[in-house]
Amino acid sequence: MRYRITHRTEYRYSEPVDSGYNEARLLPRALDRQQVLCASLAIDPPASDQRERSDYFGNRVVAFSLDRPHRSLTVTSSSEVVVEPRVDGLDLFAGESWEQARAALREATDPEGLLARDLVLASPLVPLGEALSAYAAPSFSPGRPLLDAVHDLMVRVHRDFRYDPEFTTLSTPLADVLAHRRGVCQDFAHLAIGCLRSQGLAARYVSGYIETLPPPGKPRLIGADASHAWFSVYVPDCGWVDFDPTNNQLPESRHITVAWGRDYADVTPLKGVIFGGGQMQLTVSVDVLDLDAADPMAAGGASGGHP
């Protein structure tokens, strides 16, 4: 599937901002099943200094600063990517048990395994504790195949938690999400990650997008007009497998990956420090257009379709 993604972030300030320093993790990474045809960032007013690098997790970071007074900042990321479905298929019930995976991980010294061992530990937004471990337990019965257990966990999170954008903000602690059983995709990803880590497994947070228009006859997917988030679990000697608890599915070719890290704090799409500015007003729009869709009218409908 071929997509064109436009992610626009706009800040308006009531007073001038004297200077600002920013980091954007808005350019999709290239992966085995994801080819990035083009990706660029437009900054308005133009940045006085701008540079791209890759971070600890291999994500693409654009660092830029503005040193002239300005009253608004618009950052637009535009990219075209091709996402291929899995060719080999995925058998949830094959493979090693979750305990075997955990044991293998503890001994891993290969580069990928060493990185994965970092992702077993608590992270700033995902503290571990009894409550997470207790919620995870029913999915991790003895000897259960790893992916089957994780799939079960995803199904349970989707079933037990209510999608409620009014309930959480970016600073809602995971414990509140767990106690009230509501949240948004970011919270569900953090929750599942915390459950997996509490079992000694490696899990990471994935930030990205999901296709805007659903195929005919399918329900419209939540999270389509903002950036999206899901999680990924590490299978020793095999690699990472993604799960989307918000939509209760295994991402195939409708999820576009931008960046990953321990939790949201590692992959914040756009962060910055400013001097001045007074009140700030933030508007975000995300548009994911399926370029393979034959009907040009459908594409037009998608770009205008923000609820």
Binding site: Y11, D18, N22, D67, L114, D118, G129, E166, A229, I274
Partner: protein, 868 residues
């Protein structure tokens, strides 16, 4: 620790031949290793000379020298800030006159052990932010690295130019009960203490000059020379020839701020805070009154994660946004590099011997305190089984985390600790509790055995590390106490490493200091310094003005009691209200009733209540804050003056003053502040620093004069009352003597106004302040907002000129005139109101134009990952 300290004999016995016999000035416990003794109880050779000297000196003399040391430290303003200290935020540094003495042979072992350890830690630092071979080879468990708060992923692959990454290194050493030197812990972020060690040395050489001279002690100055050299070599390539180096401090509230300022003056580097610096175009710049100055090397005293709110701790106001990326791009070098805090992980101690064999092919020369990391199941079982006999430490220092000293924990505390370890074993280490050796230390009046910790200092040099010969020794606060920390009290010692041969005099080549630097070459004044100087001027003047007015009022309170009568009462009432006006402590005496009849409590509050905005105490406190923030700027003498202010403020804080004792305190304050004025007036170069001090001083004095005159003399009073008020005003503005000499007549409003407002020759008069303001403004640069076109006056010059002209154009006749049917001197009121407005506006303009750093950074709001 079972021992009794012997009191020193009260008279010095006659000199005797050097002897290895145990002296009677000190008796350590027999079963514990003591610095002075061999196992058989005889004196260790390197102590024999010093021991005899101490014996000859006798107790009273030793105590006298300790007092002398205290006086010197106090005069030099040496302090250590104790957090949450109700006594104010500075505590005087304490120095024991008896040094810790280390022989040359033993020191060379210690030195080579320290160098080896620094080289090892440098290799580990390079590896963990580089290839991470240590993890791949299984020499370090990744959880130990990843799970430590000091491992900053943002610093991955970031490197300083040059071979070394660990530039500064400190190790805390102590001697165990069996006599071996043990490393208790490593300091690798921004090690503190070298400045205190230097100051201790300077004081000791003054209180024990001949003993020091004859003992062949290694000089510590060599370390600072190596430090300067090292900082120059890590500068970005383009700036290597003449790098600009600054010291970054968290600010005056930091516990070791004294040292930051001290090192800045000693090394000749500017002392800056985060918001003095800004990142632009991949480089760091220091804000000054003139153009921004590029910065090449930052010696930081700010912890790793507080240095950059963009990539590290977002809430930090101590750092510089964009700093880390600047380092990454090679635009600036920071020592120690950001992220080096990961070496402070105590669990590393378990793995150092194996890593030393791997990297160096050698065993560790200095052993570490025995440590078990609970992330290893076997170690964890050991720690849990021996919990009551262990020190248990969290892996990372963080708010709310602390160490636990097993033997002093209750059963329930141990239970809780056990549960915390079991819940997160990877986050804890256990360490065995050492039997400590002892060293002689002067207690209240006797020399006692105490435990001590020696902090050593190393700095990278071309091929290895330079070690400060000696270091900072800290002593437990009491006999038998094992706790050594400045936060919990305790004393310090100079550390003498004896040379096997006479030491050559080493002089540290210094950049010229502020005083020696020719005017043309002086570094531009930073915006922060200008701001502080301006407010030092304002607060000093405000405090002095309030103190003088209070003094006058207290006198009038007495007079009103002595001579009852309406005139005295009316005068007192007017003055009390004037006090409320001048200090803006509304409502104060403005309300009718009780307060005016019984002014005592309110007067004491306006004088002594630090919490009360506008009070004398609050002005003094603000003055001291601003003066401390300029610590590197003042020379030693100023501290004696500020010390006087500080002790008065302390008395106010303790609520010791009554209306009876207040006048004397006010006298002291006025004298101290006059000393400050004298110092700054006589000794400061007439440069920009002086100009800002002068601007603050003149602005404040002008405002106070206007406010005092307006609140006392605008409303017409009975003749007797008015005469008393004129007398009070003249006394308050210190112009009584001049008035009597000049007019030799009774008090008359017209002549008083002439002297107080219009006479340019009266240095306490209003017109004089406005003239002085103009002069100070004349030499200022245009500042950052310079928008003046051609020959048009800038706003600040226009304001100053208008205020002066207002005053110059008035006629005395009109000032004293009262319209029929009114009780107000309209023209006087209007003129003073206008001048007050102009001065206040001028202050705003100066603030806006020059003090640009008064800004807070904040985070951009972030988008919710899902729609709202």
């Amino acid at each position: 620790m079972r021992s009794t300290g012997h009191a020193l004999p009260d008279s010095a016995p006659g000199a005797s031949e050097p002897s290895r016999e145990a002296p009677d000035w000190y008796a350590p416990a027999p079963d514990v290793f003591d610095e002075t003794r061999e196992a058989d109880g005889t004196l260790r050779p390197h102590w024999s000379y010093i021991s005899r000297a101490l014996q000859d000196m006798g107790a009273p003399e030793l105590r006298r020298r300790r007092d002398e040391a205290r006086r010197l430290l106090r005069d030099n303003g040496v302090s250590y800030n104790i957090y949450d200290d109700p006594e104010g935020y500075n505590r005087v540094w304490d120095l024991d006159p008896i040094p810790l003495v280390i022989g040359s042979t033993e020191w060379s072992d210690i030195e080579s052990g320290l160098i080896q350890r620094a080289e090892l830690l440098d290799l580990i630092l390079r590896d963990l932010y580089g290839p991470r071979d240590l993890l791949r080879r299984g020499l370090l468990p990744p959880e130990l690295v990843h799970g430590h708060a000091g491992f900053l992923r943002a610093c991955d692959q970031v490197r300083l130019p040059g071979d070394r990454q660990l530039i500064l290194y400190s190790a805390n050493l102590t001697r165990s009960a069996n006599g071996r030197m043990i490393v208790l812990g490593d300091r690798t972020q921004a090690p503190s203490g070298a400045g205190y060690a230097l100051e201790n040395r300077m004081v000791i050489t003054r209180i024990l000059p001949s003993l020091f001279r004859d003992s062949r002690v290694h000089r510590v100055a060599v370390f600072f020379r190596a430090l300067r050299q090292s900082l120059s070599t890590i500068a970005p390539r383009a700036a290597r020839a003449e790098p600009r180096i600054v010291i970054l401090t968290p600010g005056p509230l930091n516990e070791t701020y004294f040292e930051h300022a001290y090192l800045a003056s000693y090394l000749g580097y500017p002392l800056v805070q985060g918001d003095d610096l800004t990142v632009r175009g991949g480089r760091v710049w220091q804000r000054t009154l003139a153009s921004p100055q590029p910065v090449d090397v930052i010696l930081r005293r700010v912890d790793d994660d507080w240095c950059d709110p963009l990539e590290l701790r977002p809430e930090s106001q101590l750092g510089i946004p964009g700093l880390l990326d600047c380092v990454r791009r090679g635009g600036v070098s920071v020592a120690n590099p950001l992220g080096s805090g990961l070496l402070e992980n105590p669990a590393l101690l378990c793995f150092l011997p194996a890593i030393a064999r791997h990297f160096l092919g050698q065993p560790l020369r200095l052993e570490s305190v025995q440590t078990w990391w609970c992330g290893e199941p076997r170690d964890c079982r050991h720690v849990l089984a021996h919990l009551p006999r262990m020190v248990v430490k969290p892996l990372s220092r963080a708010p709310g985390s602390r160490s636990f000293f097993g033997p002093s924990c209750s059963d329930s505390e141990l239970q809780q600790l056990r549960a915390r370890i079991l819940a997160e074993p990877r986050s804890w280490v256990g360490q065995s509790i050492l039997g400590f050796a002892s060293t002689p230390s002067l207690g209240t009046d006797a020399v006692e055995p105490r435990t001590a910790v020696l902090r050593t200092f190393l700095v990278a040099r071309d091929s290895d590390y330079a070690v400060m010969p000696g270091g900072l020794t800290r002593v437990a606060p009491s006999r038998g106490s094992l706790l050594v920390s400045n936060q919990s009290g305790g004393s310090s010692k100079d550390t003498w490493v004896l040379a096997s041969e006479p030491e050559q005099q080493v002089t540290l080549w210094l950049q010229p200091t502020r005083e020696q630097m020719p005017a043309g070459q002086r570094a531009p004044l930073s915006s922060r310094a200008a701001d502080n100087l301006y407010w030092i001027g304002r607060y000093a003047e405000r405090a002095e003005g309030i103190a003088r007015l209070l003094r006058t009022i207290l006198q009038k309170v007495d007079e009103a009691l002595q001579y009852s009568g309406a005139a005295h009462e009316d005068c007192l009432r007017a003055l009390l209200r004037s006090l409320t006006h001048c200090t803006a402590t509304y409502p104060g005496f403005m309300a009718e009733g009780e307060l005016l009849a019984r002014p005592e409590d309110e007067l004491l509050a306006v004088a002594c209540d630090v919490q009360r905005t506008g009070s004398l105490a609050q002005s003094l406190q603000a003055l001291l804050h601003a003066a401390h923030a300029m610590r590197d700027f003042w020379t030693g003498d100023i501290w004696r003056v500020l010390d006087g202010v500080e002790s008065q403020l302390a008395a106010m804080r303790r609520r010791e003053l009554t209306l009876a004792t207040l006048p004397e305190a006010l006298d002291q304050v006025v004298v101290a502040l006059a000393g400050l004025t004298g110092f700054t007036g006589e000794r400061l170069m007439r440069d920009q620093a002086w100009r800002f001090l002068e601007l603050g001083r003149r602005t404040e004095r002008g405002l106070l004069l206007a406010s005092l005159t307006r609140s006392t003399l605008v409303v017409q009073q009975e003749e007797a009352t008015e005469s008393l008020l004129l007398d009070a005003v003249l006394a308050t503005v210190e112009s009584m003597l001049t008035y009597r000499q000049r007019y030799r007549s009774y008090l008359e409003l017209r002549t008083v106004l002439e002297l107080v407002l219009l006479d340019p020759n009266n240095p306490r008069g209003l017109v004089h302040q406005l003239l002085a303001l103009q002069e100070a403004l004349d030499g200022l640069p245009e500042g950052t907002e310079g928008t003046r076109m051609g020959s048009e006056l800038s706003e600040r010059d226009r304001l100053a000129l208008e205020a002066l002209t207002q005053l110059r154009l008035v006629s005395l006749d009109r000032l004293v005139a009262i319209e029929a049917g009114s009780v107000l001197r309209e023209e006087l009121d209007q003129t003073l109101a206008r001048i007050t407005h102009l001065l206040a506006r001028l202050s705003d303009v100066i603030t806006e134009q020059y003090f640009v750093h008064l800004r807070e950074s904040r985070q951009l709001a972030q988008a919710q990952v899902a729609p709202r």
